[in-house]
Symmetry: C2
Amino acid sequence: KDVKIGICNQKGGVGKTTTAINLASYLAVFGRDVLLIDMDPQAAATSGVGIEKVDGTIYDVLVGDKSIEEVIVSSKVENLSIIPSNISLAGAEVEFSNEVGREFLLKDALDSVEFDYIIVDSPPNLGVLTLNTMIACVNLLVPIQAEYYALEGLAQLIRTINLIKKRLKIELKPRYLITMYDSRTKLSEEVSKQIREYFKDRVFKTIIPRNVRLAEAPSHGLPIHLYDESCKGALAYKKLAEEVDSVEW
Amino acid sequence: KDVKIGICNQKGGVGKTTTAINLASYLAVFGRDVLLIDMDPQAAATSGVGIEKVDGTIYDVLVGDKSIEEVIVSSKVENLSIIPSNISLAGAEVEFSNEVGREFLLKDALDSVEFDYIIVDSPPNLGVLTLNTMIACVNLLVPIQAEYYALEGLAQLIRTINLIKKRLKIELKPRYLITMYDSRTKLSEEVSKQIREYFKDRVFKTIIPRNVRLAEAPSHGLPIHLYDESCKGALAYKKLAEEVDSVEW
Ligand SMILES: Nc1ncnc2c1ncn2[C@@H]1O[C@H](COP(=O)(O)OP(=O)(O)OP(=O)(O)O)[C@@H](O)[C@H]1O
Ligand SMILES: Nc1ncnc2c1ncn2[C@@H]1O[C@H](COP(=O)(O)OP(=O)(O)OP(=O)(O)O)[C@@H](O)[C@H]1O
Ligand SMILES: [Mg+2]
Ligand SMILES: [Mg+2]
């Protein structure tokens, strides 16, 4: 298949890592060959899937110290491989600032690997790591928490997508996912309505509800289907994976 | 009084902006002369207090284009002044990377102003804008969402605080605030217990509960005391402001 999906949104805490881990895990459960890459120096996706000891990271690949094959590790989920991250990635912004084609480092590195799906988690900013994720993947999944600040931040995200199109002639394909939806509040309903009005059919039908089990799972280093496969959060991410697996980006 | 407080945590979505706005507002309600500075290129604090048209920003001050007096604007709250932000601040990381003493730009700029309190909101990373906030304020208020990833991220925050002490001989004074506490979940209780065991009396007694009114207020450009002063969120931030006003950092 060879579909790459970048999980991006510069607004913090909207569910990027939770979506990256659980979408990747369910696609693996369906039998797809999946690679999850952690492009966030905070390395939440790395710890969320239970990887404690990290040897090679995506940083080593981007600076040319290691090949991509050397840093791919297995996970607790069959068909799911991981490229971990650590704090060394935090220096990338300044370190790569004078590198020719600094936004294409990840895209080049991924040329030599083949998976059905490559899912990339990115940090909460629009810096060089997120640009690399966007350009390597082209298909973007943008989690949007159904709240005000998350909505406000979208203008800057769209501005960046348009700049990539104008200056680098790359047409990104964003799709939007409503996360942490709380059906008891008017806020969730109102914001979701605005998101659907604005982005129309680019919004996934699946909505991820607020569900504490999703917040508990990472402390056990487990994706939701291994922690509690019948909870609301697990059923929603399973449905999302089915929708992602059937959609033409 | 002249107390500066930096609201810092590189983990995204833990309540930094919500805390900055509502702490600053209640201190102003108590009659203190307060300045709120937005050091986040996402400018959530700027939009959360209802500022729509922005002339001068903190960026203009840091690059020396404007004096600090020129960019201070009034807000809807008596005794509360604001220095707004906008996207131009996003380039700071690379722009200031070769500047001598790049971490001291904000500290120098604040030498010429006097307020009872200066509250600074920072972005979700440990880059140059957060370093400037830490060094200018020395007193840090670290919001911690009572969940796993927020706890995991603290190790990197503490590592940065120790590096500042070792290399710049500045002893920062962090205090910790438990936010988005949901009394219905075991997770909040367990994580809060770990936070209090680890940080002991450096944790504020006040806990901020999860309260949807806090998430609704910014869409009206209002601090919580002007939006709904009797809700759980407002009472908690009022109590926090009383505790901050009485504590010796
Ligand atoms: N649907 C959900 N219901 C309840 N809690 C959730 C849900 N999704 C994520 N969480 C929790 O909310 C917090 C933020 O989610 P997460 O860390 O995945 O967001 P993020 O966008 O990756 O954050 P950052 O910007 O820091 O990278 C985490 O503690 C996570 O466990
Ligand atoms: N106690 C609370 N109860 C309910 N919602 C809250 C609470 N505090 C903050 N929020 C909401 O949660 C979201 C995240 O909060 P906020 O934006 O203040 O965090 P932040 O740390 O500043 O995020 P960022 O890392 O992106 O700067 C916002 O939509 C906000 O309105
Ligand atoms: Mg994340
Ligand atoms: Mg913020």
